[in-house]
């Protein structure tokens, strides 16, 4: 027993120390910097209390960024889950054996691609002059759609790329979960002459409620990482229509003004919001799943 606790200390001590340092140092630094007036390339900083935070609340571009981030979360999470469920059912119903294995492998290609690649691939396909997506549109209507520079379509078009990567990946995971379900409830429902969609809506999906909620949670966390897609595809434009919180913090801290402290205040608010939201959600999901 003593040997057991010894190995635990050796195995857990160093990694937890490394993680704690790597996570706490930037977090604490972010909080300190957010109370200063630090700017890139300017010497001398002093503490300014809550000034950065107060300024944020009257910054219309900040409230726009919050709105865009929330829209992004909603569109990508809901879109991903819908695509995943529909494609998983389609695969489960129409394929088996080798075909299913090959298609499953193909469907995880998009999520493996670097986001920079995914973003460029689609940016090129959306291109009004050369893009393959615009080719049939031009043939039919005579004019291309400027997907990425149109206020109405920009955010949705970037979200399509995110759903392309995650929705198809989650479809494969869901397919594997469907395969683990017992056969009997399906057969019973079939004997009762239930339609295909009824079997899934009333039998399969409720049986997979717990993993579906976990997947939704994972996607909510991963959707926060939208920066690379937006950076390559629109840079937050047209105007500030696709400027999410991380994009705005980057613009403030690096590109436009080098206002590190102002960007830090934003980062701290994001940090608090995500940690609190996800911790509460996670504990709630845990409780619900074990109940």
């Amino acid at each position: 027993m003593k040997a057991k606790s010894h190995i635990n200390k050796v195995f857990l001590g160093p990694p937890l120390f490394v993680l704690a340092v790597l996570a706490l140092v930037p977090t604490i630094a972010a909080i300190i910097i957010s109370f200063q007036n630090k700017e890139l390339g300017r010497r001398g900083t002093s503490f300014v209390g809550f000034e950065n935070y107060i300024n944020l609340f009257s910054d219309r571009r900040f409230s726009n960024a919050m709105k865009v981030s929330l829209q992004w979360e909603a569109i990508t999470v809901i879109g991903t889950m819908i695509v995943a469920i529909l494609v998983a059912i389609l695969l489960f119903e129409t394929t088996r054996g080798r075909t299913r294995a090959i298609i499953s492998t193909l469907l995880i290609v998009p999520v493996l691609l670097p986001r920079v690649t995914a973003a460029f691939v689609w940016k090129f396909m959306f291109n009004p002059l050369l893009g393959v997506i615009n080719y049939p549109i031009k043939e039919l209507t005579g004019a291309p759609i400027e997907f990425l520079s149109n206020i109405q379509t920009a955010l949705i078009s970037v979200a399509v790329v995110d759903i392309w990567q995650w929705g198809l990946f989650f479809a494969v995971i869901l397919l594997k979960l469907l395969e683990t379900l017992p056969k009997e409830p399906f057969e019973a429902a079939r004997i009762d002459k239930a339609r295909t969609w009824e079997i899934y809506a009333y039998v399969a999906i409720p049986m997979l409620a717990a993993p579906l909620i976990s997947l939704t949670f994972v996607k909510m966390v991963e959707s926060l990482r939208s920066f690379d897609l937006i950076y390559v595809m629109t840079r937050g434009g047209p105007g500030i229509v696709t400027e999410t919180l991380d994009m705005y913090a980057f613009n403030q801290g690096f590109v436009e003004s080098g206002r590190i402290s102002y960007a830090s205040a934003m980062a701290v608010l994001m940090l608090l919001t995500t940690i609190i939201t996800f911790t509460v959600l996670f504990k709630w999901v845990r409780k619900w799943q074990t109940a």
Binding site: H6, I7, N8, F11, L12, P15, L16, L19, L22, V25, P26, T27, A29, A30, I33, K38, L90, T94, T95, I103, T105, L106, L107, I108, V109, P110, L112, L113, P114, R115, V116, T117, A119, F120, V121, F124, M125, W164, L168, K176, T180, V221, L224, F227, D228, Y231, V232, L245, D246, A249, F250, G253, I260, S264, A267, M270, L271, T274, I275, F282
Partner: protein
Amino acid sequence: MGAQMANRITFGSISARVVLACVVIFAVFPVVWTLLNSFKEVVDIVTPTPKLFFTPTLENFRYVFERPSVRLGLSNSGIIVFSAVALGALFGIPAAYALAHMKSRVGDEIKFFVLSLRFLPPVAVAIPLMSIYLDLGLYDTRLSLTMTYVLLTLSTIIWLSIPAFERVPQNIEEAARLDGYGPYAIFFLVALPVAGPSLFGAIIFSFILVWNEFLIALMLTTSEAKTLPIVASEFTLLGRNVPWGILNASVIVLSIPPLIFLGVLSGFLNRMFKK
């Protein structure tokens, strides 16, 4: 009635197949199209009608590999990603083993702490670290980016390796203990080999995560330690008269390492979700 039924089923299954084909095309066409374009000369890309058939050229790839920025990016990415993954595995796999055997509240709290690191917005990590690294003179170095990436690889490897160790049958470890193996011998000689394939999957997963990482590298490097995604993104942001074939080739080069491991990851998923 029966015939009608049969008709309905075949019509239904045919349309389902058509939809399935569309899904597969939706998944792979963008990648295939980019691959084709990377072998095209500009005249074959800038056409009013998209071209499926053309005389392939290797010029785009030659140009990409001859760029000093690409070479530097490749070696930076290679060194930084390899070091971060190796350190992550070295610390993370033993930690996962210990956590897999801890059935206590403390164990649960530690697991949650490791998971919660994923909740940190990358921008909230990168902005303060940039300021710290600038002060320490570590900004734009491979060392600082590697250290930052260890946060990602270590937490991911721990989180994904716990289930791998949990699936090692307890009676094997028990038998080894009765044979007089100490706890370290059990880890190295029993648990590690049995969980091996899944652990490899977890390591590869973390490799792809940091190979593809963009935001932190963008904020923590400017020239010396720039990684390949940053170099590729600079290609994609070129101005109007862009060499389209070269852009397509550059993102293909960037995507080869993760795609090499497609088979490994697909096997990893199969093991993760097998009952």
